[in-house]
């Protein structure tokens, strides 16, 4: 199995038996919700759709896997989503096969998808990879596999001697404690790859995520051995050193 990173997504291509292009948290329709919260912008749905289509056309995957939160409004579906989601899916279908692991923002997504395009929300295996959105406890069948999940929108701050110089979407690769599975079916290590959000407005600092974890997956991460990768796959450092309180004094 080989993994390739596309910083322009952010997205990644997992090549095993099949070539799977993975994206997470597209949040189509986010603008109508931002408006409710006081930020008034034109919809960027068309830009998001074409960004994803470019990736698909360039990388020609067998499957496009969307790790949940494809839509944004909960509950219900906004007018913006009715306008933008059908064309997103129909354009994608012309080039590849769609698979969606529904997320907490996805109630109502069934209307836009064919039944076979929808994967179980508690997680399932796809070409030997565990895939789920990440707001629920993973299905026991995922134990012992590499799990890909969205939901956490990881962003890392890289600091240098003077102060924070860069904030960038990132991946977190970590071992998961086995307690997360009710009945672990294997003794093999389970690993998690947290995938950054495709939506350009979304981002949540990993220092916050892991200092006060808010999901079953983030609570089960073994921080000591976890690592952080930047959007283009560059090794960004150990998670524990990136979420430390104090800047190291350079003497």
């Amino acid at each position: 199995m080989e993994i390739e990173y596309f910083a322009a997504g952010p997205a990644l291509m997992v090549t095993g038996e099949q070539r799977i292009l993975v994206v997470a948290d597209i949040h189509m329709g986010i603008e109508s919700d931002l408006r409710i919260h006081g930020v008034h912008l034109q919809s960027r749905g068309a830009e998001r759709t074409s960004r994803l289509l470019e990736l698909v056309k360039d990388s020609t995957p067998d499957i496009i896997l969307m790790l949940g939160d494809v839509k944004h409004r909960v509950p219900g579906t906004s007018w913006q989503e009715f306008r933008e989601l059908p064309s997103l899916f129909s354009e994608l279908r012309q080039h590849t096969t769609i698979r969606v692991t529904p997320g907490n923002h996805d109630p109502g997504i069934e209307e836009f998808l064919k039944p076979e395009e929808l994967l179980p929300k508690e997680g399932s295996l796809l070409d030997n990879l565990g895939v789920l959105h990440g707001h629920t406890r993973p299905d026991p069948s995922l134990a012992g596999h590499l799990i890909l999940a969205g939901h956490h929108h990881p962003v890392v701050s890289l600091a240098d001697e003077v102060g924070i110089a860069l904030r960038s979407p990132c991946y977190v690769l970590a071992e998961l404690r086995s307690e997360i599975f009710d009945t672990p079916e294997t003794d093999e290590t389970t690993r998690l790859l947290m995938v950054p959000a495709f939506n350009e407005f979304s981002g949540y600092g990993i220092e916050k995520t892991f200092r006060s974890p808010f999901s079953p997956l983030s609570r089960a991460v073994v921080i000591e051995t976890a690592e952080c990768l930047l959007a283009d796959g560059t090794y960004g450092g150990d998670l524990s050193s990136l979420i430390r309180y104090e800047r190291q004094d350079c003497t």
């Binding site: 993994i3 390739e4 006081g38 008034h40 001697e161 003077v162 979304s202 560059t234």
Partner: protein
């Protein structure tokens, strides 16, 4: 002919009642002009009867034109402050009661019932603020009353003219013309350097008259020197207070006001007055001073405007006033009786403070007050007023908007900016574009009622102490975004704090014990020193003609001795024609006498160029006379000199434009301006968005253009910086490297920011350098096989040697490879162990030939001897070497990491 003869007898009777024997010079000159119907700008010191100069003739005209029918507001009296409104109301009530006019005040504090009354029966004279004028337009019935306006008095216009509030008011007056027809405009101002421009600000395209009574004829200011210690300074003030007369003590920051108060209040008869105190406390202090219960008041700029506090005999300015206009304004509060001299004393400590005070005093007496430059073509103000007009009229042709704006002086080229602003507003659903008209939307009213004021709302950030687990105070947004970063140390509440985290609108800190140098203190209302003042300080350092500036031998001797001491220690005195660079452990100090806003340009441009060439973050701290660049060791004074010498005057702005986008100052301004364009609600929780991305998306043409316009007019003086660069190029200004000096080391480094490296790549490189330097390694001897130590890459010598056998055949292992050393040294080895031994020997051979560089490469993630020798074979150094290492790590992650 006396003015009295042209006045209505009822007015003359009032004047007699008031006990006026004769008119003051101001009144003699101003009253006939107003009666003649001219637009008048009246420039005179506060308390010389300016208000009456305007209002006596206005009342006269109101009487003769038969105003007072209760049909609407005949006269608007606009002041920048509610507290002034209160004062004016009291004074006007006396006149109005006798003349049979009604008077009312309307501003944020006015009660609902009072407002309702005004809507039903409008007073003839309305005292109000610029923001409330905006609100009046929004009320359908209320704005009908504006149709009667014949006179508008703009009080303390110098305070508004330079600001966005002022620009908004100027446009509002043009909107009023559309409503009420032309009316007479009377502006009351303190001394300014550019009366004509301020008059145009008031009248737009109309003719005007200026009556000026210079305050500078009537002031006497001395500069006194005191020691650096706060106790000495307090003692000197106490000495002055003993003389007894009513005294105002002006300080530059609230913090100073508090600490002086702490020391002096116990003496009795003294109180403190500043903007952070509640309104009631301030009013009480004013009243007590007026009644004579206290004889001194410690105050900040809160006391500059003409609030009536009775007789003041002496003004003490604590520390340099920084601007000539500020000094004139403050000293002008003393000795208000006609013909009396205002007496002021500046108490200076230290060389910078003293030299600056001397220069400002001389300029004040010569009447060289700073200009007040109006805010021209401000996109957000224009956006705000377009939205206001669309609400006012429901729909309005674009051409009409342009006509209204063009009447004002603040939109000299309305036609060029209006289309861009309209497009931007419609993207945020504030208005709809419909061909040649704009139409209001459902959002517009709400937007408008939240954006009546052009004063940006400052959020407060709580400071949370991790150690005591409680909130210890709060910080202003502007301070947070311009000065703070993770790890920064600052002063609040008299303690030092280090920032641990800045998240979710909260600053988490821990107490800090030590800090290098002077620190930003959040209370510091930063008053920039103007270019001209800083240049003259440079001239004074060159000529050393201190006797032209002071007759006090203590002052002259101190200043001369200070500069001699610099030279005795082999330092070079930086002047107006010498810029010196000094190498210090933290970096390089550039001594440049050019004021805050010009030094800001220099500091930033140089850091940007350094950051681009060396790929490192550069910290800047600066004041009016020096710039400290915090630099990594490899960048030295010679490099900085080379960069300054290579600057082109015409390139500064372009360099800044590119780099500013990445600074926190730019992002903060952008969000503020986006709010005024309606893209973000005033109360929006925009932290829901990841800010680093929001700012990219908000880079929409009109919002971005306004952000740049504001930064370049308020914070950075590119024009003067270009002049300096031109002078360096034609060698009128010399550039020299000197040893560290007293001049370079002194001063308050209060202005911090960082210029991040130009690309994300550089930040990633900085991170990997730091990470590898701190990476643990095991050095193990492959010769004697009996020696190993654990250390970090940073501490490895250039060519590692075995501590046991002195051989240089040392393998560099990662901590988790430690056990391999034992396996390789076993007497009998299986095939796998033999392979391990082969790899360790290869590893040691690489270290033997490449030394520490090999150790560094081998410390990287997933880099074994094979990859390491490939990287080392590229013969790269520095950043390229780290790029090779990054590439290898990336490859390792791509191919190996996910194999199960």
């Amino acid at each position: 002919m006396s003015v009295k003869t042209v006045l209505d007898p009822r007015i003359s009777a009032c004047i007699a009642d008031r006990g006026f024997e004769e008119f003051s010079e101001v009144q003699e000159r101003a009253i006939p002009r107003v009666i003649a119907g001219e637009h008048l700008l009246l420039i005179a010191p506060t308390g010389t009867g300016k208000t009456e100069s305007a209002m006596i003739p206005v009342f006269n005209q109101m009487l003769s034109s038969g105003a007072g029918s209760g049909k609407g507001f005949t006269t608007l009296y606009i002041t920048p402050l509610r507290s002034l409104n209160r004062d004016i109301l009291h004074r006007m009530e006396w006149w109005c009661n006798r003349l049979g006019f009604t008077v009312g005040v309307r501003h944020g504090d006015t009660t609902q019932s009072e407002r309702r009354k005004q809507t039903l029966s409008p007073p003839d004279l309305l005292v109000t603020t610029p923001e409330t004028l905006q609100a009046i337009y929004m009320g359908r019935r209320l704005r009908e009353h504006l149709k009667q306006v014949r006179f508008v008095i703009l009080d303390e216009i110098h305070d508004l003219a330079g600001t966005k509030r002022g620009a908004q008011m100027s446009i509002a007056l043009e909107r009023l013309v559309r409503y009420a027809g032309e009316f007479q405009r009377i502006g009351l101002s303190a001394t300014v350097g550019n009366p004509e421009e301020v008059a145009r600000f008031m009248t737009g395209i109309r003719p005007f008259t200026i009556v000026e009574v210079p305050v500078t004829k009537h002031i006497a200011i001395t500069v006194e020197l005191t020691g650096d210690r706060f106790e000495d300074q307090v003692r000197l003030i106490r000495h002055h207070l003993k003389e007894g007369p009513p005294t105002l003590i002006f300080v530059n920051t609230r913090a100073t006001a508090e600490s002086l108060g702490l020391n002096l209040i116990k003496d009795g008869g003294i109180d403190v007055h500043h903007g952070s105190l509640s309104r009631d406390v301030r009013i009480e202090a004013e009243e007590r001073f007026k009644r004579g219960d206290i004889r001194a008041l410690i105050c900040t700029s809160s006391m500059e405007l003409g609030i009536d506090i009775g007789h003041v005999d002496h003004v003490i300015q604590f520390g340099s006033p920084r601007e000539v206009s500020r000094l004139v304004q403050r000293v002008g509060r003393a000795g208000h009786q006609i013909g009396r001299v205002s007496r002021g004393t500046i108490i200076a400590s230290g060389f910078d403070d003293l030299a600056e005070s001397l220069v400002i005093t001389k300029r004040a007496i010569a009447g060289e007050v700073e200009e007040v430059v109006p805010t021209y073509q401000a996109g957000d103000v224009i956006a705000n007023q377009i939205a206001a007009m669309s609400v006012e009229y429901g729909e309005i042709p674009t051409d009409d908007i342009i006509t209204v704006l063009s009447g004002s002086a603040v939109c000299p080229d309305a036609a060029s900016i209006v289309p861009m602003v309209i497009t931007q507003l419609s993207e945020h659903y504030i208005i709809r574009k419909d061909g040649v008209r704009v139409i209001t939307t459902g959002r517009a009213r709400k937007y408008l009622s939240n954006n009546l004021s052009m004063i940006p709302d400052e959020r407060k950030f709580p400071i949370y102490d991790m150690v005591s687990r409680r909130t210890v105070g709060s910080l202003d947004e502007s301070f947070v975004v311009t000065y703070l970063h993770t790890g920064a140390v600052f002063i609040a509440r008299g303690h030092l704090w280090r920032v641990l985290e800045m998240e979710e609108g909260k600053i988490t800190v821990e107490p800090a014990k030590t800090a290098e140098g002077e620190l930003p203190s959040w209370e510091g209302e930063q008053i920039p020193v103007p270019f001209e003042v800083a240049r003259e300080v440079g001239t004074l350092r060159r000529t050393r003609l201190f006797c032209d500036y002071s007759s006090d031998p203590v002052v002259i001797r101190y200043a001369e001795a200070y500069l001699e001491a610099v030279e005795t220690n082999r330092g070079i005195v930086p002047t107006d024609d010498i810029i010196t660079l000094e190498q210090i452990p933290e970096g390089v100090v550039i001594n440049l006498c050019a004021g805050h806003q010009t030094n800001e340009v220099f500091g930033r441009v140089i850091s940007i160029l350094i950051s681009a060439r060396w790929g490192t973050t550069v910290g800047i701290e600066l004041d009016a006379y020096r710039i400290l660049l915090r630099l990594p060791r490899e960048v030295v004074a010679g490099d900085v000199l080379e960069i300054i010498a290579g600057l082109e005057p015409g390139h500064l702005r372009a360099i800044l434009e590119v780099a500013l986008k990445r600074t926190s100052l730019f992002r903060w301004k952008l969000v503020q301006i986006a709010k005024k364009f309606g893209a973000i609600d005033a109360d929006a929780d925009y932290e829901r968005l990841s800010m680093h991305r929001l700012s990219e998306l908000l880079s929409m043409p009109a919002i971005q253009a306004e952000t740049y316009r504001e930064l370049f007019s308020r914070y950075m003086d590119v024009i003067h910086a270009s002049e300096i660069v031109a002078s360096i190029r034609n060698e009128r200004i010399q550039l020299v490297i000197g040893p560290p000096s007293m001049i370079g080391a002194s001063g308050i480094f209060s202005h911090r920011d960082q210029i991040p490296p130009p690309t994300a790549d550089q930040a990633v490189l900085a991170t990997i350098k730091h990470r590898l330097a701190k990476q643990e390694v095991i050095l193990a001897c492959m010769n004697c096989r009996k020696w190993k130590i654990r250390t970090v890459v940073d501490r490895v010598p250039d060519s590692p040697v075995c501590g046991n056998c002195q051989a240089k055949l040392i393998a560099a292992l990662k901590p988790y490879e430690e056990e391999q050393y034992g396996l390789a040294n076993k007497k009998t080895k299986n095939a796998q162990e033999k392979e391990i031994e082969r790899r360790l020997i290869k590893n040691a051979n690489i270290v033997l030939s490449s030394g520490k560089k090999a150790v560094l490469v081998l410390a990287a993630k997933g880099v074994g001897p094979d990859t390491a020798s490939r990287i080392l074979a590229t013969w790269t150094e520095g950043d390229s070497l780290y790029r090779e290492i990054l590439k290898a790590e990336r490859n390792f992650i791509r191919t190996h990491r996910f194999w199960q």
